[in-house]
C-alpha cells in the first residue's frame, strides 16, 4: 500500500539553528499539505501545494518558515531560525486532487521536532 514518506522522524535542534524536513507524497497525488501539530491539539495547516504552486500559506510564519515543491512531487519545509515554540510534530499529507474539503488526505508518520 502506498504511503507518504517523511524524514527525519525525529529532530533535536538548538534555538536559532536551521532545520529542514522532507516529504514524499503518494505517487500521483497532486496536492500536498504541511501541518503542525502541538501536543494535545489537532493538526494546523501551514501550507498547501497544488502541484508546484502554493494554494494556501496563510498560517505559515513567513519570517522564519519556507516551503517548496519545485517539481511538483516531493517537498521541503524549512525553519530558520528555530525557536522554542516551534517544538511540535510536523505532518505531511497528500490527496489525489486539489479539493482539500472533499478529498481524503493521507498522512505521513511525521517529524517530531524538539527545540532546546
Amino acid at each position: 500500500e502506498a504511503e507518504v514518506a517523511q524524514s527525519p522522524r525525529y529532530k533535536i535542534t538548538e534555538k536559532s539553528q536551521a532545520v529542514a524536513f522532507w516529504c514524499d507524497p503518494i505517487s500521483g497525488h497532486a496536492t500536498l499539505y504541511w501541518y503542525r501539530q502541538i501536543l494535545g491539539q489537532g493538526p494546523e495547516l501551514l501550507v498547501q501545494f497544488q502541484d508546484e504552486s502554493v494554494v494556501d500559506d496563510s498560517q505559515l510564519p513567513k519570517d522564519r518558515f519556507s516551503a517548496e515543491r519545485l517539481k511538483g512531487v516531493d517537498s521541503t519545509l524549512k525553519i530558520q531560525p528555530a525557536e522554542l515554540g516551534d517544538s511540535a510534530m510536523y505532518l505531511c499529507a497528500s490527496s489525489l486532487a486539489g479539493r482539500a474539503s472533499s478529498d481524503e488526505q493521507y498522512f505521513g508518520p511525521g517529524t517530531r521536532l524538539t527545540v532546546t
Binding site: Q41, G42, E44, L45, A100, S101, S102, E104, F107, G108
Partner: protein
C-alpha cells in the same frame, strides 16, 4: 474558526458504544473524521459532504446535520483497536477550502 469536539475524553469497555460530536460556528461544506494512535499519523475514517455524500469505512457510521453545523461519529460494539484520539476536520466555503481540525477526543477502550 476551530470546530468544537465533545466529549474531550471517553473510556469504554470492549463492546460498548460511543458517540463523538463535532460542531462549528460556520456553515460547513464537509466534515472529515480521522483517528490517531499515540505517536502515529492520523488515519482517514470518513468524509461527509454537504448534500449527503459520504466516503469512508464500511464499519464506521456518522451523521452530518448541515443546518446545525454539526457532525457525530458513532462507534458501536467497540474493540480494543478503536482506542486513540479522534479528530474532526471541517471545511467551509467549498471543495477547495482547507480543513480546520478540532482538538480531538481521546477514546480508551478497556478489556
Amino acid at each position: 474558526q476551530q470546530p468544537v469536539q465533545s466529549p474531550q475524553a471517553v473510556i469504554l469497555r470492549e463492546g460498548e458504544d460511543a458517540v463523538i460530536n463535532c460542531s462549528s460556528s460556520k456553515a460547513l461544506y464537509s466534515v472529515h473524521w480521522y483517528r490517531q494512535k499515540h505517536g502515529e499519523a492520523p488515519v482517514f475514517l470518513m468524509i461527509l459532504l454537504k448534500g449527503g455524500e459520504q466516503k469512508g469505512h464500511d464499519k464506521i457510521s456518522a451523521s452530518f446535520n448541515e443546518k446545525k453545523q454539526q457532525s457525530s461519529l458513532y462507534l458501536t460494539a467497540s474493540q480494543l483497536s478503536y482506542s486513540g484520539t479522534y479528530f474532526c476536520g471541517t471545511g467551509s466555503g467549498g471543495s477547495n477550502y482547507k480543513l480546520t481540525f478540532g482538538k480531538g477526543t481521546l477514546l480508551t477502550v478497556n478489556p
